[in-house]
């Protein structure tokens, strides 16, 4: 069969809502687009551990500490799971991580914002995990099987995170004057970056049309953003907090994407430092595995 015929058959399967599996034929563009999106998603989970990890040692109660630790651990698990799903497309996790550390791979810009107060942990759960869910629920029906299945599992945990984040905000909103100020400050800081998580406006979105045709994407950026706003505004009202007025600063969006956000440098440096400091450990594990492959002992004795 020639490529045109294969492509036609592929599109017909997509149109019939069939799932594409790793061994199926797929167009190079589809494979590349998925690798890009899934790796970016996996990197986001890993980098996302950093701003929240910032509060593990300082969580204000032991229960909150346990919940936060479990949450950050979940995100690491999502990363591992997504790297695994991406590997079904013929890339290795090690290569993807190299790209992240080299600064040539993208991750969600939201994690380039700092978490100066405890309320930021609440706001991240409520708004960032909330926005992630909006983005990801449609992906549970994504045309690529391994990605769709990963998303089903991940979405369950993200909605847990969202509720826990809201619960932090609720405690603060019902707390002392200082706590309420802390909560409002965090909402002010995270509102616009959360809205930017849905990506550029539809008119500027490079990848949207083809992704929709391939059913890797099912709603446009603006549709999802509007849905998120509708969903979140009443939640803020219930907290007695006010949603910031104004419009999205797309200039800020592009600057953060270009590496000029408040914490881009710190986040990448933290990942690089962990990788470098762990080099001797990974080498030791490899050397040990190598030595203890069957036969080695006999050979050296």
């Amino acid at each position: 069969m020639d490529t045109a015929a294969l492509e036609e058959r592929f599109q017909a399967r997509i149109d019939a809502d069939e799932r594409i599996e790793p061994k199926d034929w797929m167009p190079d563009g589809y494979r590349r687009a998925l690798i890009r999106q899934m790796a970016q998603h996996a990197h986001s989970e890993i980098v996302g551990m950093l701003p929240e990890g910032n509060w593990i040692t300082r969580a204000p109660t032991l229960k909150r500490k346990a919940i936060l630790m479990a949450k950050v651990q979940d995100e690491g698990g999502h990363g591992a799971y997504l790297y695994g799903a991406t590997e079904t497309l013929g890339v290795t996790r090690a290569a993807l991580i190299e790209e992240l550390l080299a600064g040539s791979a993208k991750y969600s810009s939201i994690f380039n914002y700092p978490t100066p107060t405890w309320a930021d942990i609440g706001a991240i759960g409520w708004l960032v995990d909330g926005a992630a869910i909006m983005n990801q629920i449609p992906l549970c029906r994504c045309s690529y099987g391994p990605y769709a299945r990963a998303m089903v599992r991940i979405c369950k945990e993200e909605s847990f995170h969202q509720r826990q984040g809201y619960d932090i905000m609720l405690a603060l909103a019902r707390g002392t004057e200082a706590q309420r100020r802390m909560a409002q400050g965090a909402l002010d800081r995270w509102w616009w970056p959360a809205l930017m998580m849905f990506g550029p406006p539809d008119a500027e979105s490079k990848h949207s049309a083809q992704s929709m045709r391939w059913k890797v994407k099912r709603f446009t950026n603006d549709e999802l953003r509007e849905r998120f706003i509708e969903f979140t505004v009443p939640q803020a009202e219930y907290l007695g907090l006010s949603i910031p007025q104004g419009t999205i600063d797309w200039n800020e969006f592009h600057e953060v994407l270009r590496g000029n956000g408040p914490c881009n440098r710190e986040r990448l440096e933290a990942r690089r430092r962990a990788h470098q400091n762990g080099g001797w450990v990974r080498e030791a594990a490899l050397a040990y595995a190598e030595k203890h492959r069957s036969g080695y002992r006999e050979a050296v004795q």
Partner: protein, 255 residues
């Protein structure tokens, strides 16, 4: 179960267990997101979460024994350094991954046989917490001893590093087995355990794992630390300053 004079000992005994878990969980929590590989972020978080869970049960129980209305958070966040009764081993800084895993191994190899015995304590609450802890401690020990073996028998660099970790941490293991009045009173009351017997198990585990890891057992040296009596070195104060910051800055606030 305990005489009036024993109730203070009983509370302190439970608090020692609680604090060692809490302090070590706090240390492990510093790693999450910064480990040598993603699997190790997850593994260290697992152990940290288990220890924190045990600490919460034990603190709540210690508060009940004390009878002054202090809950887990009052005990964790509003006690000073000198009131913390964790073993000094638990508060030692993370250092590199080898230091952390060596510390964890020495701790797990002690906690498992301790919990196994506490599971048949005459104190039913403590016995229940320990019985649950046995399963977790066994898993932690498998994880930490696995790493001690891989690092010890890995490369020349990793071998040298983890041997150094053991040498540095070794003096802090002595107090784990050095029974004082509280330990003895609790043993007599059937609440505590025979630390000498725990030591026999610990020595066996340590000998077996170090042999497999091609590491040498450090020599016993005099030690100066009695964390379990509230006598700490310089590290715990910094840890508590960080851990307790919000509770101290917002007295009485609910979170």
């Amino acid at each position: 179960m305990s005489t009036r004079g024993d109730s203070g000992n009983h509370g302190a005994f439970v608090l020692r267990l609680a604090d060692s878990n809490l302090v070590l969980a706090q240390r492990l929590g510093e790693w999450i997101g910064h480990a040598p590989a993603l699997e190790e972020d997850l593994g260290l978080a697992n152990t940290a979460l288990d220890l924190l869970g045990q600490a919460r049960l034990l603190l709540t129980y210690a508060g009940a024994l004390e009878g002054r209305g202090r809950d887990e958070d009052a005990l964790a966040y509003l006690r000073e350094e000198g009131e913390y009764l964790n073993c000094a081993l638990a508060e030692q800084p993370n250092g590199d991954f080898g230091d952390t895993l060596a510390r964890q191994f020495l701790f797990d190899a002690w906690q498992l046989p301790l919990y196994e015995r506490l599971a048949s304590s005459r104190d039913p609450q403590l016995a229940a917490i320990a019985a649950r802890g046995v399963k977790e401690a066994r898993y932690h020990l498998r994880y930490s001893s696995g790493w001690v073996v891989r690092l010890g028998d890995g490369t020349a660099e990793s071998h040298g590093r983890v041997q150094g970790s053991l040498e540095r941490l070794w003096p802090y293991t002595a107090e784990l087995f050095d029974a004082d009045d509280i330990d003895r009173a609790m043993q007599v009351a059937g609440i505590g355990v025979d630390l000498g017997a725990v030591r026999v198990d610990w020595e066996q585990t340590v000998a077996a794992v170090l042999a497999e890891a091609t590491l040498a057992r450090p020599g016993d040296r005099p030690w100066h630390w009695y964390g379990k009596r509230g006598e700490h070195g310089e590290h715990l104060g910094h840890m508590l300053a960080q851990m307790q910051a919000l509770q101290r800055a917002h007295p009485g606030a609910r979170w």
